[in-house]
Symmetry: C2
Subunit: 396 residues, 2 copies
Amino acid sequence: MSLSVTGSNAGLGEVLQLFRAEPGLTRADVMQRTGLSRSTVNQRLDALLASALVVPSGEGAFTGGRPASRFAFNADRGVLLVADIGATGLRAAVCDLRGAVRADTEREIDVAAGPHPVLDAVHQLFTDLLAEAGRTPAQVHGVGIDVPGPVDFDSGQVVSPPIMSGWDRFDIPGWFRAHYACPVLVDKDVNAMAFGEQRSTYPDVRQLLMIKAGTGIGAGLILGGQVYRGADGAAGDIGHIQITVEDVDVEPVCRCGNTGCVEAYAGGWALVRDLRAAGHDVADVNGAVRLIRTGDVGAVRLARRAGRILGGAVADSVSLVNPSVIVIGGQLARIEEQLFAGIREMVYRRSLPLATRKLQIVPSRLGDRAGPVGLALLLADAIFAPDRVDQLVNPH
Amino acid sequence: MSLSVTGSNAGLGEVLQLFRAEPGLTRADVMQRTGLSRSTVNQRLDALLASALVVPSGEGAFTGGRPASRFAFNADRGVLLVADIGATGLRAAVCDLRGAVRADTEREIDVAAGPHPVLDAVHQLFTDLLAEAGRTPAQVHGVGIDVPGPVDFDSGQVVSPPIMSGWDRFDIPGWFRAHYACPVLVDKDVNAMAFGEQRSTYPDVRQLLMIKAGTGIGAGLILGGQVYRGADGAAGDIGHIQITVEDVDVEPVCRCGNTGCVEAYAGGWALVRDLRAAGHDVADVNGAVRLIRTGDVGAVRLARRAGRILGGAVADSVSLVNPSVIVIGGQLARIEEQLFAGIREMVYRRSLPLATRKLQIVPSRLGDRAGPVGLALLLADAIFAPDRVDQLVNPH
């Protein structure tokens, strides 16, 4: 219910949402869909036209009298900037106000170097992308950043991140406010990936579980069609669910300090550890993936075991949240055959038939672009949320 | 956004929601809160007054001119009937249209006897409650039923219930339509309990996990302030998460047919099994609870072990959905000391500090009444949902 904007601008947010959802609406369309009076619709539309959030988009069908003017959301009023920060690389993009990526670029970083060098690198890429797009910092309507760790979504602070030393409680929005006078959204990477996959490929799916199986393991939840973050931004912490594995004597120590976490058996870093212990010369997670894809018997056996262990945690998640689609992404998704077999085996063995009869378990469609794509869509929704529209129309 | 009611009744649902949320509103209050025009507000209010969903509630403050008339939701326009069906007992209640319980009653049943004898018993209690309240079947606005098994919420059918033989795909709403010409809502018992606890005791909590530890073990999830059911109504199936327990050689068989489920170690029926195997003469779950409360050392040891095993599954749930409150109900909640210690031990040991620093783990406040209380509140919300109001105002 659009009760959040009251008084003189009641209905403004609702009218803008209509234009974001459908192109080319007339005044009569808006009245019919909202139940707002003609004079209220005229006032709201005047405010949106004056602020250039909505622009004329031509005329409608001739129905005997004067043809009705049509209007549309102005996705080129400005741009959004997004950056997907990973453990070892970052990808930045400039997007229109619908969240569609117009151009993107990437470079290597080390997230453990701390916030200043990493955010300097992000800022440099943003500056380059803006120059290429022929835009100025004043035209940036929003900045979106995702990181490989838990985020307190309201404050935009990274909180207790196991692999981001130096980032705990760092004020990312404050850092960007020195460069851009616009809202800054910060989220966990896998939340953005989940939203990107859902909106791009499964728009009608209301419950989607996104698993990122890379160096670490995490999950993003789309519940009721929206990103679900939990009470403290800690939801989806599937990598640190603890399990008992029968064929080990001593539980492996995890990067989080605990022992026996799913990630400590099935994460990319744990696969690298186990392959090295078995005498293989693998440099990193990508090296492990390449070796497994060659079909080396010992390496494949380890990959299937990782799949079954991850699959046990996925099965628990299926029992608890009953999604209709599970998307697997991250570097380990490239060893699809071995990993997916293990995951499917455990999910179908363990979860109730009711929860699995229509369940799809699929690889990511967007791959490395899932983060930036989802982040831009999240950012567009946040900036044009009904309760924020007042500020866009009357910024001061 | 209230876009669901369009055309001639646009805004009707939104206006009714206002009256349900706040008593004693004037026409000007409604205009101010909705942005609807004076003429639209007058038309909607006339429709609600004509249907007696809203009634005059006196006059407002004298502000110089004629005092403004106030109006309120008419919670006594009719009644709601609800029944909480358990494995061995049922509790029925008659409620006003706000979902407040006016009278309730209970009796023993055997749910495994199948739908006909159980629903006959429900109907008898409903008939008695209506007679006591001086109401007729025509005044029943909604019937709510909860059951100890998974439900396809849209159709109201029980689906693949492990302990409800003969109920699979039974059309509960169809059965009641022979007696009452009103909507029938069917939900899983622990969903209703979760909603009752949240609305009654934690109205500001958005993410709440309700654990029912009785004969079986189940969970109800309140996410984003609403009951979360998952894609197939199978969410919250915490009792059938599978675990590996180090001190057993052969995994116990569960009532669901799988082995090693949480419930097969920590459910009430499993405690009874283990206490009997240890030579104790316990008749049922209540007998097991009584024995443990006497402080018998062997029985207490089993209860703490059950608490730790259940706690492992609760810790997984905390990692995945990050609730701010966990409510423990069901018969086993009466052995609070031993059970809660085990649950807390595992949750604080396993889950991320970020997810547990503000977490409350508390016993149920409503006890046996959580189901009926929550069911009545769910039913009231469903009946007066904005997209259904048209049918109430223009029933034919």
